[in-house]
């Protein structure tokens, strides 16, 4: 009996998918796990075509070939830096496909006889449309924001919550109507439009820094959409795999939320939500308030902005040269004037003569903090060279990877792997955060939000409460950023105005790094 065979095969394939996913969560077996998942899917597709007796229909082959060509070309051409938007886009298309299957099922296309459970089929079909369309539109908005086609900041329309609530209520009404009335084009169309509207409203409200979590959630949602579509057409394989992906996607989302110390609800409800509890595992980093020399307090934005502008205007090299010349002059004068006096102040002045290169030349223990800016400047290979040079000189070099460095969790690891940096040298935040205060130097390359001490103090900003890398604890910090503008989250970084032990090398990271590498002796 083919039904039994089909069920047994579905169970086996689902087990293969489960094995594939769990293999993918370990580095050694990940490639094999991906293969296993793909193989299970291939067998599932062939079996479905066989069992539903549609082998002779030519249209499905044409469609598969078109889709396979487009997908393969996109996968082969994409740069690693575009990964987040690409995943979001693929994910949206999958959701769209589920929605279309829902439409077909709701319209009764492909059904030779009346279904045995018409209410169940109608309900799941219209629900598949709803979840699928939310996934499609939400993912497209997310991809647009990540690719900077749409403005990345959270956008809140007037009466945003009320409108969203209205769309949810109308969508539910539509689902109920669709469950009662069969094959109404208007109901199907209404469901498509209303849920698209909801998907748009909820995704447009999420800010740039929270986008990774949104994508992960949408990823989970597209699995659920597939599973519901599977219920509508009675395909057990589809139900099973969709359920697995939906649940594990949700778990991955939670893991990411935990890393950012945000609750899923606060992200979805948009923008800035205050969260009082600070993570006890992250010690308080010294902030601007602890630094009496700092010219401004964080809240006085006008002064701060002025200062940043000034810093932006000046060439840092010139600044450093001027300081060097000045200190030499002062030291010379002192020596001339008072030879009998104590030489105590000289020690501090000597310190100011340090340049980024001299700091690194003497460093024996270095942590490199890469960020998305490194990827934008295509500076991965320069970073690798820097690490090699320091190691050649006998220094210990480690990389500190914030859980959300880059544009999605783990993105930075992929970018560094592309530059042949072995993953044993990449340390997760918890593993390395206590070491910042003891290392000789920290090199920040194109990172901002993930080390912004304001995350601990600036209440009401998008990053408040997010655990950050304790770069501010380090004695010597070399910052190779393009400029001093706030990062993706839009919050100023008080570290840049710290007076001692911070060296700014502004400009294209590839160039500043190459200069730094040449200057290290």
């Amino acid at each position: 009996m083919p039904m039994t065979v089909q069920i047994i095969l579905s169970i086996l394939l689902s087990l293969a998918v489960i094995a594939g996913i769990s293999m993918m969560s370990k580095v050694k077996s990940a490639v094999a796990g991906n293969f296993l998942s793909a193989l299970a899917m291939l067998v599932g597709v062939v079996a479905t075509v066989w069992f539903s007796g549609v082998m002779s229909v030519w249209t499905i082959y044409v469609a598969i070939i078109i889709g396979a060509l487009i997908g393969s070309v996109m996968a082969a051409r994409a740069q690693m830096i575009q990964m987040p938007q690409l995943v979001a886009l693929f994910n949206g298309l999958g959701g769209g496909a589920s929605a279309l299957v829902g439409v077909m099922s709701y319209m009764g296309w492909g059904m030779t006889t009346e279904p045995e459970y018409p209410v169940f089929v109608r309900f799941t079909a219209i629900l598949a449309i709803a979840v699928g369309m939310i996934t499609l539109v939400g993912s497209l908005v997310a991809a647009g924001k990540l690719a900077r086609v749409i403005d990345g900041r959270p956008k809140v329309y007037p009466a945003h919550s009320a409108m969203t609530l209205c769309l949810i209520v109308l969508s539910v009404v539509c689902i109920v109507l669709g469950t009662v009335y069969a094959q109404s084009v208007w109901i199907a169309l209404g469901a498509v439009l209303l849920t698209s509207g909801f998907g748009y409203m909820f995704a447009i409200r999420v800010g740039g820094a929270d986008m990774p979590i949104t994508i992960s959630l949408l990823n989970s949602l597209s699995g659920v959409a597939g599973s519901i579509a599977g219920m509508a057409i009675g395909d057990i394989f589809l139900v099973a795999v969709g359920g697995i992906v939906g649940a594990s996607g949700l778990l991955l989302t939670q893991i990411m939320c935990r890393a950012m110390n945000r609750s899923l609800m606060s992200i979805l409800l948009g923008g800035v939500v205050k969260k009082k509890t600070s993570n006890p595992s992250t010690p308080n980093v010294p902030t601007i308030q602890n630094n009496p020399n700092a010219p401004t307090v964080f809240s006085e934005t006008t002064d701060f902005e002025q200062l940043l502008e000034k810093l932006n205007d000046m060439e840092v090299k010139q600044l450093l040269d001027a300081i060097e010349a000045l200190t030499k002059e002062v030291a010379g004068l002192r020596a001339q004037l008072a030879q009998g006096q104590t030489a105590a102040p000289v020690a501090t002045e000597k310190k100011e003569e340090k340049t980024p290169a001299s700091v690194l030349s003497n460093a024996k223990d270095v942590i490199i903090v890469p960020g998305y800016g490194m990827a934008l400047a295509q500076a991965q290979h320069a970073v690798k060279q820097l690490a090699d040079k320091l190691e050649y000189k006998g220094a210990r070099v480690r990389f500190a990877i914030h859980p959300v460095a880059g544009r999605m969790p783990g993105h930075m690891n992929v970018l560094l792997a592309e530059a042949d940096i072995p993953y044993e040298k990449l340390y997760e935040m918890q593993a390395i955060n206590d070491d910042f205060k003891s290392v000789d130097a920290v090199v920040v390359i194109g990172a901002n939000d993930v080390l912004n001490p304001a995350a601990n103090t600036a209440e009401g900003t998008p990053i408040y409460g997010m655990p950050v890398l304790n770069v501010a604890d380090a004695k010597e910090v070399i910052v190779c950023n393009f400029d001093l503008k706030p990062g993706y989250a839009g919050v100023e970084n008080p570290l840049y105005t710290r007076e001692k032990g911070v060296y700014l090398c502004l400009g294209d990271a590839k160039e500043t790094l190459m200069k730094l590498i040449n200057d290290i002796h």
Binding site: M24, G71, F90, M231, I236, L252, G410
Partner: protein, 96 residues
Amino acid sequence: MLHPLILVAVFVVCAVVGYFIISNVPSLLHTPLMSGMNALSGVTIVGALSATGLAYGLDGVWAQVFGMLAIVLAAINVFGGFGITHRMLRMFNKKK
């Protein structure tokens, strides 16, 4: 057709299993894992295939247009997703 309760039960069981298989993923692998699961969510292609195939010659042009579109979208998801995941994972392992 299978009884709805069986389908719902399958969904629940798979969701519970799915929730426990990835408890301990190093953040190193978050991006490839997300991308791989994204490819798996393209499994909806089997639904698109059978629905389109069954509707052929039965429900006119619109059914085929919708069905083919569904297959194309799902196929992009599947092929693109697995392809890009493989590319990423290979980079982690190219040393050894």
